[in-house]
Amino acid sequence: MTPLDFVVSLALISVAAGVLGSLVGLGGGVVIVPVLTLLYHVDIRLAIGASIVSVIATSSGAAAAYVRDRMANLRAGMFLEVATTTGALTGAYLTTLLPVRFLFVFFGLILAYSSVTTFRRRHVDAPLTVSNDRIANYFNLHGSYHDLAEGREIAYKVVGTKLGLSIMYAAGLVSALLGIGSGALKVPAMDSAMHLPMKVSSATSNFMIGVTAAASAGVYFIRGQIDPIIAAPVAAGVLLGATVGARILGRTASKTIRILFVVVLVVISLEMLQKGVLA
C-alpha cells in the first residue's frame, strides 16, 4: 500500500468514524484506534496520538452546529468541564501510581454497568419539569432544545449535579490514565445522573470532549505521537463526518441514539475487560 492509498482509505474510514462519534458523543477515537492498529498495523503510540486528534476534530466539528442549534447545553457543558479538566490533570500525575490492568478491569465493569442503566432508561427518559438541585438552579443549567424528530421544543430541568460532577471528574481521570475517550462516562453522567435528554447528553458530551482531549494533546505532541501523515487524513475525514453527523442527530429519534450508544459502550467495555484480563 503506497502513501496515497493509505491517506485516501484512512480519510474515508475517518468520515465514518466522525459520523458515529458525533452521533453518540464519544468522538472518533473509538473507531480510529482499532482501525489503525489492527488494519494498518500502526504503532499503538501513534494510533493514540491520532485518536486524540480525531476526538478534538469530532468535538469542534460537531459542536459548532450543536451549540448554534442549542442542541448542546452550553452552560451545563462548561460548568461540568471544571470536573473533567481537573480530573484529567490529576490523572496525568497518577499514571505511574496505579496498576493499568486493574484500571482496565475496574472501568470495564463500570462501563458495562452504565450501559445497562442507559439501556433501562429507554422507556422513562421524559424530561423533568422541576428541579430542587441548588447548584443547577444557581448556575441556571436548565435548558430546552428543538427536537426535529418530534417537531417540537422540549424543555428540561437538570438534577443530580453533585453526582454528575463526580462522574465527570472520573471521566477526566480515566481519559488521562487509559487514553480512552472520556465520552463513555460523560454521556451516562448527563443522561442517567443528571436527567438531561439523551440527544442533549450526546451533543453536550461532544462539546466537552474536545476540551478534555486538548488538556492532554500538548503532552502527545511533545512526545512525538502526532504523525502528520496519519493525523492529516484523520483530521480532515473526521471533521467532514462530524459535520454530517451533527445534521443527522436532530432528525433521529432519541431511542435510536440511546440504543446506538449502548451498543458502542458494550463494545468498549468488552475491549477494556479484555485488555485488563488477558494483557
Partner: protein
C-alpha cells in the same frame, strides 16, 4: 411505548412525577425568574452560543485548509508517494522511528524549509488550540453578558487547560 415484559418495580412511562412547588423550599439560591427575565436570559445565552459556534467553525475551517495545503505540499515534493501501486509502502512513514516535527523549534525549521509535514503539523496544532480558544471566548462572553458565576467557572477551566500545556513542557 409500554413494553409487556417490563418488571413491575419500574416507574410508569410518561412524564416523571412532579414535585409540588411547596416542597421545593430552599431549593435554589436564586429566586424563580419572571417570564421577562427568562427571555432576556435566553437572548444573552444565545449570544454566547453564537460567539462560541463561530470560534469553533473558524478554527475547524482554518485547520482543514492548512492541513490540505500541507498534504498537497507533501505529495508535490515526494512524487513517489503518489503512485497507486509500487514498492514504496506507507509503513516507512508510520513506524515508530519515522521522523517528523514534534517541538516548536523543529516545526519552525520544517516550515522555513517549506516542508509539507511541517504545514500539516501546524494545521493539527490549530485544531488542538481551537477548544482552548473556545473556552477563552466563553470567559470573555460570559463576562461581557455580566454572568459572573459562569465567567468564573469558565475562567477556572481555562487556567487548568493552559496549566496542562505548561506542565506538558510545550
Amino acid at each position: 411505548m409500554s413494553g409487556p415484559s417490563r418488571p413491575p418495580v419500574e416507574p410508569a412511562p410518561g412524564p416523571a412525577p412532579e414535585i409540588p412547588r411547596a416542597a421545593l423550599g430552599r431549593s435554589g439560591a436564586r429566586r424563580e425568574l419572571t417570564p421577562d427575565e427568562a427571555r432576556r436570559m435566553a437572548v444573552k445565552v444565545h449570544r454566547v452560543e453564537l460567539a462560541i459556534s463561530l470560534v469553533l467553525r473558524v478554527g475547524v475551517v482554518a485547520s482543514v485548509l492548512v492541513i490540505a495545503v500541507g498534504l498537497g505540499l507533501m505529495f508535490a515534493h515526494h512524487g513517489s508517494y503518489l503512485a497507486l501501486r509500487g514498492p514504496l509502502s506507507y509503513r516507512a512513514l508510520t513506524s515508530a522511528s519515522t521522523s517528523f516535527p514534534h517541538s516548536f523549534g523543529a516545526l519552525g525549521r520544517a516550515l522555513a524549509h517549506d516542508q509539507g509535514r511541517g504545514v500539516v503539523v501546524l494545521g493539527v496544532l490549530i485544531l488542538i488550540l481551537t477548544p482552548v480558544l473556545r473556552v477563552a471566548v466563553g470567559v470573555v462572553s460570559f463576562a461581557y453578558e455580566k454572568d459572573a458565576p459562569m465567567a468564573l467557572v469558565t475562567l477556572f477551566v481555562l487556567v487548568v487547560l493552559v496549566g496542562s500545556f505548561f506542565l506538558a513542557g510545550a
